[in-house]
């Protein structure tokens, strides 16, 4: 059994405009020393999935169902006290914007020590030593000096290192990283990913990497979940996602990625906007933006099904095998998903 198994996870928010179904039946699993990449556009439900697993949604207006089995324990049924014990200790999370994710009026040492003392019965002095060690491990120079500095005295990349140090300080089994590199420049991005990979290897951590950047996924993920409008539309190990993608939306994402090996005049973009989750289109949720959409796509919701040859490659699309094969080959050869197809 995997460390974390998410089954049919659903999360809705009650808003003044109606019920927003942010996550609608998502299932995946991730094991120790494995990295699962969750990919999708803004608003596709990937962050909400993470927050639901962490129990960090606002309880007042959120309804969740399904299960998230963490080491045999359903997080969705756990009490808030139990979740607090797990959070920061066995499941940790880092966020997108390192500039705002640290408390500006507390020294980073204070914030690291807080994370330690919340879960360990040790003295402040010991906790501080741990904080210094943790800062050293994530590559902060002169950690024994910097530990008393405040967040505004660090650069964005350094703050994200601090966030990683803080999330890893209690050696969690699972780390959820919600777009940890999005706010950083490319060089820093690579360093942060490298750091996460190193820490993962040292400690056997399972990582859920939430991102909209397929480059990051290629870099770090073992398995990939592609989400669209609250649903998983394709799910596979990382290689087949890049070598034999099966869903038109994945084609679109890949087509919009710059390629070093091909001369492409213009990157392909997925036309239109993701649907409002208040007003989800009938049938396949991607059909209004899909250039392959058939009549069936507008009435019937495709289910996530395994591909004929491989059990671990799932997609939710009605297209026939021949078209899928042809179009993915066309895309990978650099032609992009053809807008006029079908």
């Amino acid at each position: 059994m995997a460390l974390l198994e998410v089954n049919e996870l659903r999360t809705s928010f009650k808003t003044d405009d109606g019920i927003v179904r942010a996550v609608d039946g998502v299932s995946f699993s991730v094991d120790r020393n494995q990295t699962l990449g969750i990919v999708g556009e803004s608003g596709c439900g990937k962050s909400v999935t993470a927050l639901t697993i962490m129990g960090l949604n606002n309880a007042r207006n959120t309804i969740s169902s399904g299960e998230a089995m963490f080491d045999g324990e359903n997080l969705l049924a756990a009490s808030s006290g139990r979740l607090r014990e797990l959070r920061g200790m066995r499941i940790a999370m880092i966020f997108q914007d390192p500039m705002t994710s640290l408390n500006p009026v507390k020294s980073i040492g204070w914030q690291l020590v807080e994370a330690v003392l919340l879960h360990n019965d040790i003295s402040k002095k010991e906790a501080r030593e741990r904080a210094v060690t943790a800062l050293g491990e994530v590559g902060i120079p002169r950690p024994e000096k910097r530990v008393d500095d405040y967040p505004h005295q660090f650069s964005g990349g350094m703050r994200q290192r601090v966030m990683i140090a803080m999330s890893m300080i209690n050696e969690p089994d699972l780390l959820i990283a919600d777009e940890p590199t999005t706010a950083l420049d490319v060089t820093t991005q690579a360093q942060i990913l490298e750091l996460m990979r190193r820490l993962q290897e040292d400690r056997d951590t399972a990582i859920i990497m939430i991102t909209h950047d397929l480059g990051v996924v290629a870099e770090i993920a073992d398995d990939v979940v592609v989400m669209y409008a609250g649903k998983v539309i394709e799910q596979a190990p990382v290689d087949p996602i890049f070598t034999a993608p099966r869903h038109p939306y994945t084609w679109g994402l890949l087509g919009s990625l710059p390629r070093m090996d091909l001369e492409i005049e213009r990157l392909v973009q997925v036309p239109g906007q993701p649907p409002s989750l208040l007003n989800i289109p009938a049938g396949c949720r991607f059909n209004p933006r899909c250039s392959y959409a058939m009549n069936r796509c507008r009435v019937e919701l495709p289910e996530l099904r395994p591909a004929p040859q491989s059990d671990d490659h799932l997609d939710a699309c009605f297209l026939d095998e021949a078209t899928k094969a042809r179009e993915s080959v066309r895309l990978l050869s650099g032609a992009g998903a053809s807008p006029g197809a079908a």
Binding site: L56, E85, L86, T100
Partner: protein, 323 residues
Amino acid sequence: MARYLVRRLLWALFLFLAVTVVTYVIFFVTPADPARLAAGQGASPAEVQRVAEKLHLNDPLWKQYGLFLKQLVIEQSLGESFVNRREVNDIVLAAAPVTASLVVGGAVFWLMISLPVGIISAVRPRSLIDRAGMVFVLVGVSAHPVWIGLIFAYFFGYKWGITPITGYCDFINPSAGASCGGPVQWAYHLILPWLTFMILFAALYVRLIRANVMETMNEDYVRTARAKGAPEGQVMRSHILRNSLLPVITILGMDIGLALGGAIFTESIYSLPGLGRQILVSYENFDLPVILGITVFATICIIVFNLIVDIVYAWFDPRIRLG
């Protein structure tokens, strides 16, 4: 820090000069004859003329202002009242503790109410206490302190006889001729003024604190704290309050500094011999030295409290460095 203080003091000097000049100019463009008022009813024109001469009222404006500055710098004296020849220094020093008692006590009261109500209504929006708080805010902001004061004095003081209706007692034991004194009597006489003075501010601060706490609750670092497994109480104390009360400190300092110059309405209703009442009386008599004295004192209060706010702020927020 030293450079900061020097800069602040230069600003304070400039502010002081600007405020006193404006007071002088306004005083002289108002159509009044302070010499006649000072000379008393039934004084002959010659006598009025003599009084005007003595009070330098016939000198040009700049000369009078120069005289005022000279006296202030050399003798540290704000001059004498036109009306009763008392030293203005004494008048201000006698009235200031009354106003300070009212303002500081009132501030303690309004924080005691607005902090818990503001925080609870931010954490539980649309709850009963939030709605009750909003009603209180609406009433507090809309009702005039004079009206509130009269209502309080009528019910608490007159109808039910729980509190004194008017008057003030010294904090320290009674001076000769005073009717009462001591901390207990002092507080007893100030209950209604405190309540009256506090209502407007309590209402404003409930709203201010509620808005600030609500805004801070949505900050990313608050989510980080929860992700670390911090219990709600600790999240509120260590992460939300410290950040959301920063702007409140600024406004509190400015409000207290401003109010120390005289809480005119409250002091008038309850006949408290504070600065606000004194300045009102002095305006009626065109008693320029007293008006100026209180203005100078109020300006100093505002300057000092702004300085305190800056220092406290820098202490609370590591991002701010004075310099």
